[in-house]
Amino acid sequence: MLISLAWKNVWRNRTRSLTVIAAVTVGVFAGVFAMAAINSSIVQRIDSAVNEELSHIQINNRQFRSSSDIRNFISEPDSVISVLQRTSGVADFTGRIIVRGIASTSTGSAGVEISGIDAEKERTMFTLSQRLIPGTGSYFGSDTKLNSAFIGEKLARELYIIRYILTPEVLESLAGKDVPASVIEKLRPLEGVRFTTEKKFSDACSGLLSAKENRKYGLKLREAAWSYREGSRIILSFLDINGDQTGAAFRICGIYRTNNDYFEAMSLFVPDNQLRTLTGMQEGQYHRFIVKLENSNLTDKVTPVIRESLPELEVLNWKEIQVDLAMIADYVNQIYGIFMALILAALAFGIVNTMLMSVLERTRELGMLSAIGMNHRRIFMMIMLESIFLSIVGGFAGMAVSGVVIGITGHTGINLVKYSEGLEAMGYSAHLYPTIGADFFLMLTVLIVLTGILSSIYPARKALQLNPVEALRGE
């Protein structure tokens, strides 16, 4: 009965209640959506780190990470393989040969980390092969006698392998991408001109287009003019197992694009047998084993097991390699909680105000309730329930709106391309796909109910302080 009475009381002053509910709805939506966007960014970053860059666990010779000396390979790979094969939770693993070297073309050079990989195995274990930019190759797929290399877009730019050209075909294709004919005509002077960097191309376009046109069509122009000649070559130079300078020409078998500029610029992949031949390393010798687990939640459980079994080697999981990311991942729930608690605390003041008005308007009625036998506990409960209803209705509405918006944007994505340079430099995607776990909504529900309870205390105390005789005497 109290529940029903409290619910009806909430709707006595419909406008006032709806105003508070709307405020709670907007506040909760803003908080949840912001959390979902931040969360998506972290989830995507962790996913990239685990599936493209680091894997769950890495096993190295203890000196390898600090010195990167080619001779610091794992001396007893068979024992590693044996341990990994019998460790439960390990889904798959593979070995890599890793050397530091220089990649160069006729126009540029850059320091790189060259990983010799079992391409077929890594295709099944990781998703980097899916990051291949269409039209740039086939991820070690083409049958060629030449050495082949899979490189990042950022490195390709640094080596001037990627160029920007507005060919007649490209200019024609712009019409199909909603670029007006007037803009295409303005760009005619650039037809056939090769630009070695994106900046030079953008500057040239800016000189011909208005600022508004440049803002509106700049990205489409850059994407259309992006040009790569399949099968371009680069020279890789590095030291062999004897410490002698060596190297070879490699044909680019594909360019990958990730959200991590640093990784793209530094990480270059070649087949392990080719690198083994060039470095003089023996069959079965590896610098690193990378281990994929059945799921990420096993990371903290499996790492110590492997570490204990291989005490002479360095065993690190992704959290230990990327400490900052691990910290964010670990504390993200607490951060969510604090963030939402702050939003709800602000909303609580609105609820307190509304409930206080409601109590003061009902002085005579509350006096009557006390007179006819409604005790303090019940009056307190009634006010508390009213307050909880206000919070819950607004909170659930906010969560429902958030759910819908997250559902839509989680599918379509949020384009932050304007900030892509900064975000990708830190390894975060410029395209967010908001997502948030059910546990967050559970935590939020608890926080909302708590907000309702806390917001009711002051108004309820006011109601209890009423003397029934005085309350009945006048409003």
């Binding site: 005579r364 036998g373 409604m374």
Partner: protein
Amino acid sequence: MKVVEINDVHKIYHDTEVEVRAINGVTLSFDRGDFAVIVGPSGSGKTTLLNLIGGLDQPSGGEIIVAGHRLSELRPSELIDFRMEHVGFVFQSYNLIPVLTAEENVGFIMNLQHWPKEKLKARTDGLLDAVGLADRHKSRPSQLSGGQQQRVAVARALAPQPEFILADEPTANLDSKSADTLLDIMEKLNRDEEMTFIFSTHDPRVMKRARRVITLEDGRVTSDVRTDQKE
């Protein structure tokens, strides 16, 4: 059988350094089935006396015993329970709960007392019939006239089967016809159920129907006349 005993009760208010003796040595008792009115000029202490009898206020001196309970010995929380169990209140301004229907208002106290649903429904239906509102069960107070609201208030007061009903100026806001209807209902309930009614009023219509008229002046009982004995 005595329902209420009031022995040398005093009520003193200390208002802005002035001592106001609202009730000054009242000794009275009410029997089961009384239909009594307390009359007197404004400020004579009628409402104060009603509040003391109903356990809404505590006397400054003297003793009030209701249904065997010494009210001065009850803690505030016990007084609330006492009111719920033993006293029915009818207020001048009806004081129904505006968001509840007529039947919900009548059943409100029974709900607080956890009456079984079916018994509660039967009692509510019976009372609404008795006060002539059989067809207004689902009406909210705002959909009822003043007289109808006061009848709902009477039904609510009677619902938990209290020892007596305290009615403070119950007809003050009603027109003659509504007042007569209400008094007819109260008289009938008094006669049929032997329910004790204690009114405070200025209304001659109520005084005319009362079987006992107690006059208060300056917080003292100046007369206590049983009109049925008079006849």
